[in-house]
């Protein structure tokens, strides 16, 4: 170090800074990753057990927290059947794999990530577009099996293509969507009125 080359302009000083800053940030990220993954295990507070598909799921504004939160209610069976945790996991897994195999994410967003050609699927299960909680399941299955002829397009002329989803896969997708709608997403989307809010 000398007049000509003060510390802040020295190569070796910045090399050390670069190494330490990188190592430090990465270490913090690793620690936070362990914590986040454990807080978001299936069956925890933030990400529900797959058997949540047996329950009523709602999404309401909590005054004290100043945000919208999922609320898990009484029994509200899917396809008239009570699923064990294993059966539920199997069905949701089929649904999740189907969403990947059919490339849903390149038209829709899931948890807000993906493409912007079609609506967000995060709370699709709760959307008032399914008219009523009695009609919902059937409408969803019918739509997935033949979107071309069951599209409403809301005046946009955009139709989902026929993705050759089988009846089993369609059930899986509906179960997956129901399960996903119960994830605590820190209040995203904001101000969302569910099918239950409109019914009351």
């Amino acid at each position: 170090m000398n007049e000509e080359n003060p510390l802040w302009a020295s190569e070796s000083f910045w090399k050390k800074v670069a190494i330490w800053v990188t190592a430090g940030s990465f270490l913090i990220l690793v620690v936070l990753t362990f914590d986040s993954l454990s807080q978001t295990e299936v069956g925890g507070k933030r990400v529900q057990a797959y058997s949540v598909i047996n329950k009523k799921i709602d999404y309401v504004y909590k005054e004290d927290l100043h945000k919208f939160m999922p609320v898990i209610g009484e029994t509200e069976l899917l396809f008239g059947k009570e699923f064990t945790e294993e059966e539920a996991e199997k069905l949701v897994t089929l649904g999740k794999k189907t969403t990947q195999a059919k490339n849903c994410m390149n038209c829709h967003t899931l948890l807000g990530n993906g493409a912007y050609f079609a609506p967000d699927l995060t709370k699709a299960w709760l959307d008032k577009g399914w008219l009523s909680k009695e009609l919902r399941e059937d409408l969803m299955i019918k739509f997935l099996l033949d979107p071309e002829n069951n599209a409403r397009t809301f005046g946009s002329n955009r139709k989902m293509p026929n993705l050759h989803i089988t009846p089993d896969e369609a059930k899986g997708v509906v179960a997956f969507l129901k399960w996903m709608s119960s994830i605590d997403t820190n209040g995203f989307p904001y101000n969302f009125k569910t099918i239950y809010a409109t019914e009351e």
Binding site: E11, L29, C107, F117
Partner: protein
């Protein structure tokens, strides 16, 4: 005509084309021959990217266009995958380009490098054909292994993932073995460590998970830690080397700057990852951590602008390759505006709650990827073509200079135009779909049907066409620039 005759005709046409370009490969060292192979594929994929982007943009205006044949999802997937892959090809090419020069020795393991290039290129071709002709499969592992993983940006099926890892390991071997045989430098060290991180991160995206929160958690490790950490540093390395070569900046200065950039970039970008963990189910502390650190991310980008402009200015912009320097300046500003300014505008959770998953993200995505990564690659294409032509003159008064200038103008104005159109659409969506209607399906469509959204899509289409025209001109210019030029390159003096 039978197949044999057809092949004969195709071959003859290809030969005629090669003769027409009048490019002489003997002007290039072995490492650089390999580099230009990567550049050639990169340009072809860049073309494919824009072609499929145009089709997808058309479907926003006419949804029945190619419906059921090439649906939006397919076109969009090819659009963004072609982008990621061409940029990676470009980066690998840049690395091979500077490898022998920086290590001052001949490339080690060239034949494996060549083999890896062909393996990767054939794999890419197969993946694209499967995307286009098979498109989707049943909801099971076979589809994820053979057709498509259905995860934005890293859709490539698992077999291809494994192939990519094998190829990257070979590439690594070339890099490390060459530096080890020749000599290491600060630039070489940062480059090697950064490549290790870049490749390692890819592994985080290779697994299937039903828990979508975990799945997206790791997905962002790849996407974010690539574009906002490891790719940025790679660009820093490439930039450092080019500033030395193009402008004659002293090595000590560029190396010191490089370390500063690494510190600032990794210091903000690694924890800035948190701006993708606001709404995917992850704990609330990410709102604070992600918001804070990602808000710092523009700082290194300012540093990069200062670096490039100061060096260029202090050498009175005297340089041996005008188009390359022009694209480097475009990089400095594009990176700063696209990533820094556009990224910052929606990175705080209070705003992101409304902009998340709207055309806002697409506006930022376009300007950032183009500004930060398309530009630097194009600069390198110009460097490569100059040497391939035999170090010809590419400074003032070059022949047909209007071509590179117009290509530069059309591409930049086109992308900025698309960015503004998408920004308007994004604001409108944030207000109507998110804030007013609470993101229901009917809210989504109210926003999509709004006149300001619809006209934005039309504007985007026209600016997209301008971008596409710019690319075609760019390709023509790259093929012809310096052809017939007899003057030699203006060599710059090192300080």
């Amino acid at each position: 005509m039978n197949t044999k005759e057809l092949c004969g005709v195709a071959n003859a046409k290809l030969d005629a084309f090669v003769t027409w370009t009048a490019l002489d490969r003997s002007n290039l060292s072995d490492g650089r021959k390999l580099a230009v192979n990567y550049f050639i594929v990169a340009v072809i994929l860049f073309f494919a990217q824009l072609l499929f982007g145009m089709i997808a943009a058309t479907q926003f205006i006419f949804p029945s266009f190619l419906y059921g044949w090439l649906d939006f999802s397919v076109n969009r997937m090819v659009h963004i995958n072609a982008m990621v892959v061409w940029m990676l090809y470009g980066f690998i090419g840049c690395t091979y380009w500077l490898l022998e020069d920086e290590s001052q020795t001949e490339i080690v393991g060239l034949k494996y490098g060549k083999l890896a290039f062909w393996v990767l290129t054939i794999a890419v071709a197969v993946v694209v054909l499967v995307y286009l002709f098979i498109q989707i499969g049943a909801g099971n592992d076979t589809t994820l292994w053979l057709i498509n993983e259905g995860r934005e940006y890293i859709e490539a099926p698992r077999w291809a993932d494994i192939g990519i890892v094998a190829v990257v390991l070979t590439f690594f071997y070339n890099v490390v073995a060459t530096f080890s045989k020749g000599k290491w430098s600060g630039i070489a060290g940062v480059l090697t460590l950064d490549l290790v991180a870049l490749a390692g991160l890819y592994l985080a995206g290779m697994f299937y998970m039903t828990n979508i929160t975990h799945e997206q958690f790791w997905w962002w490790w790849v996407i974010h830690l690539w574009v906002e950490a490891t790719w940025e540093v790679l660009v820093g390395v490439i930039m450092a080397w080019s500033l030395m070569k193009l402008l004659g900046v002293r090595r000590k200065i560029v190396t010191t700057w490089l370390y500063i950039e690494v510190a600032l970039m990794f210091g903000s970008g690694i924890l800035g990852l948190g701006h993708h963990y606001f709404w995917i189910g992850t704990p609330e502390y990410w709102l604070t951590i992600g918001g804070f650190f990602s808000a710092l991310e523009p700082i290194p980008l300012v540093a990069m602008v200062v670096h490039a402009m100061y060096d260029a200015g202090s050498h009175s912009f005297k340089n041996s390759n005008h188009p390359a320097v022009a694209w480097i300046i475009a990089q400095a500003f594009g990176n700063f505006f696209g990533a820094g300014v556009w990224g910052f505008m929606h990175t705080l959770p209070q705003i992101n709650l409304y902009t998340h998953g709207t055309q806002w993200s697409a506006s930022h995505g376009h300007l950032a990827f183009f500004g930060a990564y398309a530009t630097i690659n194009i600069a390198f294409f110009y460097l490569a073509i100059q040497h391939w032509r035999g170090d010809v003159w590419m400074s003032g008064n070059a022949q047909n200079a209007w071509r590179w200038k117009w290509a530069l103008g059309l591409l930049n104005v086109g992308v900025v135009g698309m960015t503004i159109a998408l920004l308007i659409a994004g604001y409108e969506q944030s207000f109507i779909e998110r804030a007013v209607e609470g993101s229901t399906w009917s809210g989504y469509f109210s926003a999509q049907n709004h006149p300001s959204f619809q006209s934005a899509m039309v504007w985007r289409w026209f600016f997209g066409l301008m971008t596409f025209a710019g690319l075609i001109l760019l390709i023509w210019d790259l093929l012809t620039i310096g052809k017939g030029e007899t003057r030699k390159m203006a060599f710059v003096e090192t300080e």
